[in-house]
């Protein structure tokens, strides 16, 4: 079996990507034949680190809601014992509403438009009482604080209500919905409809704290999972200014060859620091260390950023942000989970991934025609969720 065990904390277990991975081929007779840095893939050497479905750079979508994980907190009330209110600071460029749910189930509402699934909204159903949507204006640095009567009774909550697992509901959902422009806009237009933060609770020193499981945005009819990457801005700028070699900003270069622009991010540590060739070199070689060159974290997966803006013939093939992406819910705590967390999601995912009700009809079944580039990128992946960066 060529699939390498999924490294912990890095999201879905290894899934076959094209080309299918047979077992590791024999060691090349002369390892030096892959002369650095212009290594070419030897067909006998197979990929031992999985690539995530790549991000396509070149269509940046401005996100109208900025809610950073670190700006979400639990605020204790003065009462004894204290109850905890969800509070967060955020920025909104449009008007909207905020809603908070505890122990909620997710429901994705989709319609088929031109043979393609479009999500028009995501709703959450909670068995605990929840407040009605609270309106907010378009403003920076707004603070939202939950009303006391809707605070979750954390002291009496069960472990399954506090911790996320694939069988459980989402312990905490923060949903920001845009109310302008109105919801009448066509589903295919590229507007941000919802911004969702899924979180769970953890207790350290008997104080509860929040840990964000995932953040995602619904843009047009597509759900994007948000990931932070270190170095994406430098990389983007360098791509705009030509090859990294000519750019002043050396942080956009691949840290290994110091020549090519960095296009590949290491997961779970999120360092965007490698070019395609060096990423292969670091992971393909039989005795390769498979560690992030920046922080030495084990390379769980690789995420390529494909700059479609530099390939006009392919970018012209369609609106590649939404094309080819059906929605699949998170199959595991996403790679954005802190490396220090105690997630060990591998077991139950492997056994339940396909039978879980949340996954019904969600696999990208018969795929419509895609631009050549996109099909190369997505084909065969059961987790086609686009990675979308915002910072």
């Amino acid at each position: 079996m060529g699939i390498v065990p999924s490294h912990e904390n890095d999201g879905p277990p290894s899934m076959p990507l094209p080309p299918p991975r047979p077992s590791l081929g024999p060691r090349p007779t002369n390892p030096q034949s892959a002369s650095f840095p212009n290594i070419r893939t030897d067909s006998r050497l197979m990929r031992s680190v999985e690539y995530l479905p790549p991000v396509k750079m070149g269509q940046r979508v401005s996100n109208v809601f900025i809610l950073r994980k670190e700006n979400i907190r639990l605020l204790p009330t003065p009462s004894q014992p204290p109850i905890y209110l969800v509070e967060f600071t955020f920025r909104a460029d449009v008007q909207g509403t905020v809603q908070i749910y505890f122990n909620a189930d997710e429901k994705v509402h989709q319609t088929r438009v031109n043979g393609q699934n479009h999500v028009h909204h995501i709703s959450y159903v909670s068995r605990t009482p929840f407040d009605s949507p609270a309106p907010f204006p378009a403003a920076e640095n707004q603070v939202f604080r939950q009303r006391e009567q809707f605070a979750l009774d954390l002291a009496n909550a069960t472990a399954s209500q506090l911790k996320y697992s694939r069988e459980s509901t989402y312990p905490l959902v923060i949903k920001l919905d845009a109310t302008s422009p109105s919801t009448n806009t066509p589903i295919t237009s590229n507007i941000v409809r919802s911004h969702i933060t899924l979180a769970e609770f953890s207790f350290a020193d008997s104080r509860p704290s929040l840990r964000v499981i995932e953040q995602k945005v619904l843009i047009g009819g597509t759900i994007f999972s948000m990931q932070d990457l270190y170095g994406i801005r430098a990389s983007y700028n360098a791509n705009q200014n030509g090859p990294a070699g000519t750019a002043e900003d050396s942080s956009a270069e691949c840290v290994v060859c110091l020549t090519e622009p960095s296009t590949t991010a290491v997961q779970p540590c999120k360092h965007l620091c490698l070019c395609d060739d060096c990423a292969r070199l670091l992971t393909l070689e039989v005795d390769a260390q498979q560690k992030c060159p920046v922080c030495r974290t084990h390379i769980g997966k690789l995420l390529r950023i494909v700059d479609t803006s530099r390939r006009p013939e392919q970018a012209a093939a369609g609106n590649t942000v939404t094309e080819g992406n059906t929605y699949a819910p998170p199959v595991a705590p996403p790679p954005s989970a802190p490396a220090s967390s105690s997630w060990t999601p591998t077991n139950h995912i492997q056994t339940e991934q396909l039978s879980h009700p949340r996954f019904e009809n969600l696999a990208p079944s018969s795929r419509h025609s895609t631009p050549p580039n996109a099909s190369e990128l997505h084909q065969g992946s059961t987790h086609p969720m686009n990675r979308y960066h915002m910072s």
């Binding site: 290994v256 060859c257 020549t259 620091c273 060096c278 070199l281 670091l282």
Partner: protein, 150 residues
């Protein structure tokens, strides 16, 4: 010999154009992978005022493999042996291809400021460092005067 990887050319260029204070590294005329290095002993250390010569060699699989670095100047240090070999994690298992000639030499310079007698390569020096640090420092100063002045 195979052509020189761009990375090595770039590093060489940048070492000349943006030199590190107290460190110089110049490639040999006959072998672009072999560098003559001089590290000035850090102030506040027993190696202050010393000029320590080293050689640094970039093996064929650099930067996947660490450079080979060796002191040519004799030095009294618990982590550097008689042959000039250096006990430093980033030159062995903690090597990362994101490190460069520049960062390696900075690490060696830092090692001169912070000897680590608990991970010795020169056992005799390490023992003295642990049992009688003032005397060990004096010996290091003496050696610096004796061997590291040119």
């Amino acid at each position: 010999m195979a052509s020189l990887p761009k990375r090595i050319m770039k590093e060489t260029e940048r070492l000349q154009s943006e030199p590190v204070p107290g460190i110089s590294a110049v490639p040999s005329d006959s072998n672009a992978r072999l560098f003559s290095v001089v590290i000035i002993g850090p102030e506040e250390s027993p190696y202050a005022t010393g000029r320590f010569k080293l050689e640094l060699f970039l093996p064929e699989d650099y930067p996947m493999a660490p450079p080979k670095v060796r002191f040519l100047t004799r030095i009294y240090h618990p982590n550097i042996d008689r042959l000039g070999r250096i006990c430093l994690d980033i030159l062995k298992d903690k090597w990362s291809p994101a490190l460069q000639i520049r960062t390696v030499l900075l690490s060696i310079q830092a090692l001169l400021s912070a000897p680590n007698p608990d991970d010795p390569l020169n056992n005799e020096a390490a023992e003295l460092w642990k049992n009688n640090e003032p005397r060990a420092m004096q010996t290091a100063r003496d050696w610096t005067k004796q061997y590291a002045q040119q």
